[in-house]
C-alpha cells in the first residue's frame, strides 16, 4: 500500500481543502462466477416441468452446462491503485468488471466496494435512439440519482462537449454517427466516480481520438481514486496503470507492477509461482 501522504484524498493540502469523502476500497475475496447456459429447452417452463415429472430434472441440474467465467479471484485495491486487466478475449476481463460493479453476484466468494462507482462498459448505455439528446441526458442523470440542479449542470457540460447545438432537441436517431459517439462519450464521462471501471471499447480508435476527448477522459481517470481498466492496448495500460493483472480462463495468472506483468504477457511467458508470490508481497 502507498504511504499515507500518497493518498488521493489530498492529504498534502490544508485541512480545509481536504476531500471529505471516505477512502475508496475494493475487496474481492475468492470470487467465482458461473454462467448457466440456457438454450433450447432449458428456457421452456413446459419442458422443465415435464422433465421434473419424468424424474429427469435432477440429472438435468447436475449436467447443466455452465461456463466458468471467473475462478477464485482475489483483488484488494485501495485509493490510488490503478489496475489494468489484460488477457485474451474470453479471459473474463469484462465479467470481472461487471462483477465488481455488482451486476453479477458471485456464486462463491465475497465482494465489497466502498465509494461511489461508475462502470464505463456499454457505449450505448441508457441511450435511447428515439429520445432527444436532452431527454437522454436527463435520464442518465436520473439513473445516477442526481437532483434537478445537478442534472442541469450535467446537461450544460454534455452540451458543451458534444457540440450538438440545435440537435439537442431532436431524437438521437437523426444524429450523424459522429454526434452519437460524442454524446455517448460525453454522457459516460460527465460523472466523477471514486471507483472507475472501464472497458477497452473506451479506448477504441485511439489514434483518431480527439485531443479534447483524451483530456476529458484523462481528467475522469485521474479524478477517480481507483481505476480498473480492461484493455488489449499495452500503451494505455502502461500509461494509466500501476498494477496489472493478467487473466486467462477466468483466473488471474499473474499480478504485479505494470511493466513486469505487461512484459511477461507480451512475451507470452507463463508466470511462475515465484513471480506470483513476489507480486503479492510488493507494495501496490
Amino acid at each position: 500500500m502507498r504511504g499515507p501522504d500518497f493518498g488521493p484524498c489530498g492529504n498534502g493540502l490544508p485541512a480545509l481543502f481536504r476531500d471529505p469523502k471516505p477512502m475508496a476500497h475494493i475487496q474481492v475475496e475468492n470470487v467465482s462466477v458461473d454462467f448457466p447456459l440456457y438454450h433450447g429447452s432449458a428456457r421452456s417452463l413446459k419442458k422443465t416441468v415435464f422433465a421434473a415429472a419424468s424424474g429427469r430434472l435432477g440429472e438435468d441440474t447436475r449436467q447443466r452446462v455452465v461456463v466458468q467465467a471467473l475462478r477464485n479471484i482475489n483483488i484488494d485495491l485501495r485509493s490510488g491503485d490503478r489496475l489494468g486487466l489484460v488477457g485474451t478475449n474470453g479471459a473474463g476481463k469484462t465479467t470481472l468488471l461487471r462483477t465488481i460493479a455488482g451486476i453479477y453476484e458471485p456464486v462463491a466468494g465475497r465482494i465489497r466496494v466502498e465509494g461511489s462507482l461508475n462502470a464505463l462498459l456499454d457505449p450505448q448505455l441508457g441511450m435511447n435512439m428515439e429520445l432527444t439528446g436532452r431527454e437522454n441526458i436527463m435520464l442518465r442523470g436520473l439513473y445516477n440519482g442526481f437532483s434537478k440542479p445537478q442534472i442541469n449542470a450535467m446537461e450544460e457540460d454534455v452540451q458543451e462537449f458534444a457540440e450538438l447545438g440545435e440537435f439537442l432537441d431532436l431524437p438521437v436517431r437523426f444524429y450523424s454517427s459522429g454526434m452519437i459517439v460524442r454524446l455517448g462519450f460525453a454522457l459516460a464521462t460527465c460523472i466523477r466516480p471514486q471507483v472507475l471501471l472501464m472497458d477497452e471499447w473506451f479506448l477504441a480508435g485511439d489514434a483518431s481520438f480527439m485531443a479534447k476527448a483524451r483530456a476529458r477522459l484523462e481528467s475522469v481517470v485521474r479524478g477517480a481514486d481507483i481505476l480498473v481498466l480492461s484493455s488489449h492496448q499495452s500503451a494505455a495500460v502502461l500509461n494509466w496503470c500501476t498494477r496489472v493483472a493478467w487473466m486467462d480462463h477466468g483466473r488471474i495468472v499473474m499480478e504485479g507492477p505494470a511493466e513486469e506483468v505487461m512484459d511477461a504477457y507480451l512475451r507470452g511467458v507463463a508466470p511462475s509461482a515465484r513471480v506470483l508470490e513476489e507480486a503479492a508481497s510488493l507494495p501496490a
Binding site: 493518498g7 488521493p8 489530498g10 498534502g12 493540502l13 481543502f17 476531500d19 469523502k21 471516505p22 448457466p36 428456457r43 421452456s44 417452463l45 422443465t48 490510488g80 461487471r98 460493479a101 455488482g102 451486476i103 453479477y104 453476484e105 458471485p106 456464486v107 462463491a108 466468494g109 465475497r110 465482494i111 465489497r112 466496494v113 465509494g115 461511489s116 462507482l117 461508475n118 462502470a119 450505448q124 448505455l125 435511447n128 428515439e130 429520445l131 435520464l139 436520473l142 439513473y143 445516477n144 440519482g145 442526481f146 445537478q150 442534472i151 449542470a153 450535467m154 457540460d157 460527465c190 460523472i191 466523477r192 466516480p193 471514486q194 483530456a215 476529458r216 481528467s219 485521474r222 479524478g223
Partner: protein, 305 residues
Amino acid sequence: MEYPASAMNAISEPDAIAAPAITEPALPRLATSTMDIGADITRTKRNSLAWTDLVEGAALWRLGVTLGWLDIKLKYRGSLLGPFWLTISTAVWIAAMGGLYSVLFHQDLHTYLPFLALSLVTWNAIGGLVGDACNTFTQAEGTIRAMRMPFFVYALRVVVRTAISFAHNLPVIVGVFAIFSVWPGYVAAQSLLGFVLWTVDGFAACLLLGSLCARFRDIPPIVGSIMQIAFFITPIVWLPGQLGAHGWWLPYNPFDALLETVRAPLLGHSVSGLVWMLALVDSVLFCGLTWFAFVRVRTRLAYWM
C-alpha cells in the same frame, strides 16, 4: 462546494504533472455508497438485500416515473392525438359492446353501460399490467447488464406506465356516467383504498412475473391465456346478478374480488366485508409468494438476461 478532482490528484500523483491543465466545471459527483455482496450469505442477509432493493428503488422514484412516462410518450410520439387514441378506442369499444350485449343479455342500457364502461376500463388496467409485467426485466436487459440498479425501479416503470394508460381511459367513464347521469355519491372515495391495494399487487406482479418470464421464456403466452380465461369467468361484460344463486363463488375469484374493491364504490355500492377480506387475503398470499421468489432469484436475474 465541489472542486475539480483533478486539482487534488495533481498533487498526489506524480505523473499528473505532465498532464495538460484541466479547467473543467465542477461536475456532479455520485453519492458515496458501500456495496457488500457475497455468495455465502445467510437467509436474513438475502432478505435484507431484497428489502434494500425495494427501498433504494423507491428512492429512485423519479427515474421510474420518468421511464414510464417516456414509454408512453414514445409509443405515441408522432401521432396526432397521442395517448388519447387510447381514450377513443376504449370509447368505441364500449359503445359497440354496450349496444350489442345489452340486447343479448336483455339489459337496460341505463344500468348496463356504466357497469360495462367501468368494468372494461378497470380490467384493461389489470389485464394490461399483468401482460406488461412479463416484460418488466427482459425489456430492461441492456441496463441490467450495464449497471447495478435496484430491480424495483423497473417494476415502478411498468406500474407508472399502466397508471398513465388508465388515466387516459378515465374520461370515457366520466363521459358514460354523465350521459346516463349516474352519480355514485361519496361512497366512491372508498375506491381509493382499492387503488392502493391494486398498486401494491401491481408491484408484486411485476417482480414475480418479470422474474419468471426472464427465466422461462414461454411464460408470457401462458399468462396470456390465463388472463383470457379470467376475462370471461369474471363479471366484466356480464353482470354478477345474472348468475343468481349460482354466483356465490364469484368473490373467490381473486380478479373479481380485486375488481370489486374499486368498481363497487364507483357504482355507488359499498364493498362488502367479505369481498374486502378476500381481496386482502389474496393480496397477502400473492405478495408473500412474490417476496419468497424475489428474495431467491434477485441475484440470478442478471444471469438470465
